[in-house]
Symmetry: C3
Subunit: 391 residues, 3 copies
Amino acid sequence: MPGGELHDVFDGIEAQVPEGLAEHLRTAALIDHHVHGTFSEDIDRSTFEFSINEGSNDPVPPWMTNFDSPLGLSIRRWCAPLLGLPARADAEDYWKRRCEFGADELATTMVRAAGVTHWIVDTGFKGDQITTHQRLAELAAGHSSEIVRLERVAEDLLDGGTSPEDYPAAMRAALASAAADPTVVGTKTIVAYRTGFDIDWTRPADADVVDRARALAARPGSARIDDPVLISFGVHEAAAHGLPIQVHVGFGDRDLDLHRCDPLLLLPLLRAMPPVPVLLLHCYPFHRQAGYLAQAFDHVNFDVGLSINYLGTRSSGLVAEALEVAPFAKQLYSSDAFGPPELHVLGSVLWRRAMGVVLGDWIRSGDCAEADAIRIVDMIGAANAQRVYGI
Amino acid sequence: MPGGELHDVFDGIEAQVPEGLAEHLRTAALIDHHVHGTFSEDIDRSTFEFSINEGSNDPVPPWMTNFDSPLGLSIRRWCAPLLGLPARADAEDYWKRRCEFGADELATTMVRAAGVTHWIVDTGFKGDQITTHQRLAELAAGHSSEIVRLERVAEDLLDGGTSPEDYPAAMRAALASAAADPTVVGTKTIVAYRTGFDIDWTRPADADVVDRARALAARPGSARIDDPVLISFGVHEAAAHGLPIQVHVGFGDRDLDLHRCDPLLLLPLLRAMPPVPVLLLHCYPFHRQAGYLAQAFDHVNFDVGLSINYLGTRSSGLVAEALEVAPFAKQLYSSDAFGPPELHVLGSVLWRRAMGVVLGDWIRSGDCAEADAIRIVDMIGAANAQRVYGI
Amino acid sequence: MPGGELHDVFDGIEAQVPEGLAEHLRTAALIDHHVHGTFSEDIDRSTFEFSINEGSNDPVPPWMTNFDSPLGLSIRRWCAPLLGLPARADAEDYWKRRCEFGADELATTMVRAAGVTHWIVDTGFKGDQITTHQRLAELAAGHSSEIVRLERVAEDLLDGGTSPEDYPAAMRAALASAAADPTVVGTKTIVAYRTGFDIDWTRPADADVVDRARALAARPGSARIDDPVLISFGVHEAAAHGLPIQVHVGFGDRDLDLHRCDPLLLLPLLRAMPPVPVLLLHCYPFHRQAGYLAQAFDHVNFDVGLSINYLGTRSSGLVAEALEVAPFAKQLYSSDAFGPPELHVLGSVLWRRAMGVVLGDWIRSGDCAEADAIRIVDMIGAANAQRVYGI
């Protein structure tokens, strides 16, 4: 199936982005420091609609389509040409054309256009539906590393027969093994989805952990780590093993209590923990709070991934707000793409475009030199991730 | 008294709004889905000043005037020409000229300039000072529907002699009657002003409702529904009767605890209730949170009415932020005007202008087609309200 | 050491700011209503880096420099020419050149370029490292007044031997004396750093104050007012003496719990206190909430000082958001500069520039007249401070 080409990411706004910066942003090699695989099988329209709405857990109602959203507009604008259609093709035309591509062909076409050379992949969620990190790297002709989910590691141990008494040692052994694995560059916690951030972040004693594991084991069904002590234990142990810790913050599906995922509620943890890198992910609508924390703590970093995709053309405003108080050494690029490979390429296109708009404005108004802007792009696009994850 | 004409809503920013979109926005017929009447009598300066400050409950102090605010500037800019004065006439000239008009003449001049064909009117507040919904429709040469306030319905029942024991059934009968009345298209709760959103949203048992009604009846004076169980009962019963529910969210006068009106605190209700349409009103400064909820729940919709008027020229930024994550099918237009008819026309002028600025930018940068922008205008301006309220 | 000249504050954005407004903003005499002294001695690089990061309490790590931040870019852009360097000089060149100046010479060069005629100085913090308010006025060739910190006054009394029993009367005497001192124009509370705003704001009885003072006196070491009753006592007494009260709100170092410094949490105090002027300082990222309170309460005013410096070129967006709902009579200018005199001049430069951008846009789009914009500048830049502090 013949695909097409990505349009110039500064199409329509050429006058806003000074040429040297534009040229650099068009080709800069990115590290996507938080991403998932692409769908490994063909999907139907209903799955696609579901996959371009972050918040909902329902099928899209008959009286609307998620193409009628900022993300939907961006898919039509940027991904249609990749499938050989005109930019801003109708939703129906887009969907029809998309169905002519197989899952792998689609993934290859899209992810290669992202200009990402290294994908740091969170492998802890719905792994059966999406490609492995190795396969993503293959499709993208790039490199990959792995992020292990702390709650998933814990659940696998308990479901695998580890006794409550053995659990603390087994968790430590698993993290030591992760720390020794050159493929694994960090961990992630989804405490946002399990308890919210307003829990007691004191490092728990092993005896308390065993008690909680015992209570969990007494519940029917497979293990689900939703006990604050067990979550806190995982985070503190990851830190003790020197592993970077990604934290889902803010914007996510409606299972979480968004107001309990304000990153400021992590202050007790951030103050008390060893200074391993903490990566606040997504953060919308608390991205200003995240930037504040990244300024206040040497070990705290953040991104506005996921939100960039969902805000579509409005992501320029978000990227501008993310460049308010944090030092440039403390912000990273990510797409948080999961499933449709449109998300893998859009994250990159929209970020490059937004950085061009925002930094272009800074240059044109004389507030920074073009060389400064290019350096900021390189820090956020790759260098900070290299430092944080040691890659 | 000869009035004047509304200036072109894109005056001064013609180059920012592509002509097809501009032409459409100039004439698109709007549904104002949340509005109140206009003052039925002439008012004095002090009442006018008070009426153009949403937050305060005091007379304006002698050392200032509310004309010196974003809303004041917008009144001088857009309403002065409607009174036959030059745009940006002085505050004193504006006031002097305004006094030459009678209340009806003023209302006719202003509300007809709004380009609103259907007014959905909240009739539950200070009904003696403002026009009825029928009279507003007459002044505007348009149509109207009614929104009944749940707390007002409840208070009227109790003040009218309904016994606590009969109250649950009486409330159900009143809501059944509202649901059957073709004039009534929905309900509204002002829980924001009574308890804040952080209450127990479990659907209460009738016995509990009777107990609380009894406690209320034992208090001297007329009934004031400020008991969380009674409020929750009203909301759940409205939902059970299939009635759309408007919720005052965020920006309002200082009687409310603004931080307890963050719409995220409604999550327990939104998750548990039957999926009748919920309309989050105003929402500033929590409009990003409201947009998130509108994405996450099929039955949740929102607007940024009221705030648009108060932000004046800055409403373009607000409208832009309101177009961040919610699908376009989930946002509605409203003015929330109450009292001075300036607010009825300004809501419309500022919204049209802001949509022109924001969507015009999207078109000029290639991020959407002009036809898409026009469709978005029609969805938010009228079609979504038609779907939600069945009009 | 020959310095240089401040570049035109509208350099690079001349076309955005109508000439009459630009000319006025270039020369308008400001009152900096919340500021501290400049460093009285030469400082090393590490102290400088530390002093241009508000949130952190650590030395800057070796892998980064705070020059790589919005504030750092603004220092290079605006302060380099004041030292005779080209705009946007390299960080290393800037530092090298800066070291050739003595502390006084540096201070004189910088603070005189701010165009501030009156400095209202908070003298309650690290007074040994920075100039007194009189010395700042001398260096700046301007005037100064003093703000006394309530917690500092209280601690000085207790450390000076005042008994718990005598403490209420002694505090009242100290405040009466402050109120009678023509140099002192107001007070400040740092409740943000001691308890957060979510405390009981009921005016405490003297007996309770004595009890708490007794408990405090029983603790070893010098007094630290972190008891909510003692803090509330100080605030209520300041109000009873008719003294304006500045409140640190939002953005500050990581010792505070930022989410507990949301100004909305002050509602119980604002509703109950006598209406002496309250000045909400800094406010980021809660500046919209602060603007709301300034609209809702006649006695509440606010600024976005401190944040303007830290946001650098992005401060235009912040200033725009600060001009959303509050009447123009309720906002003030401040820099909150402390230490490096770069902060004293930058606060002024960035505010003038941001006001030019925002109000220039309002004028160009016809939303206000140039004379209105100039009046808004004068209100926020000086007149409101004159009214509030009686100077």
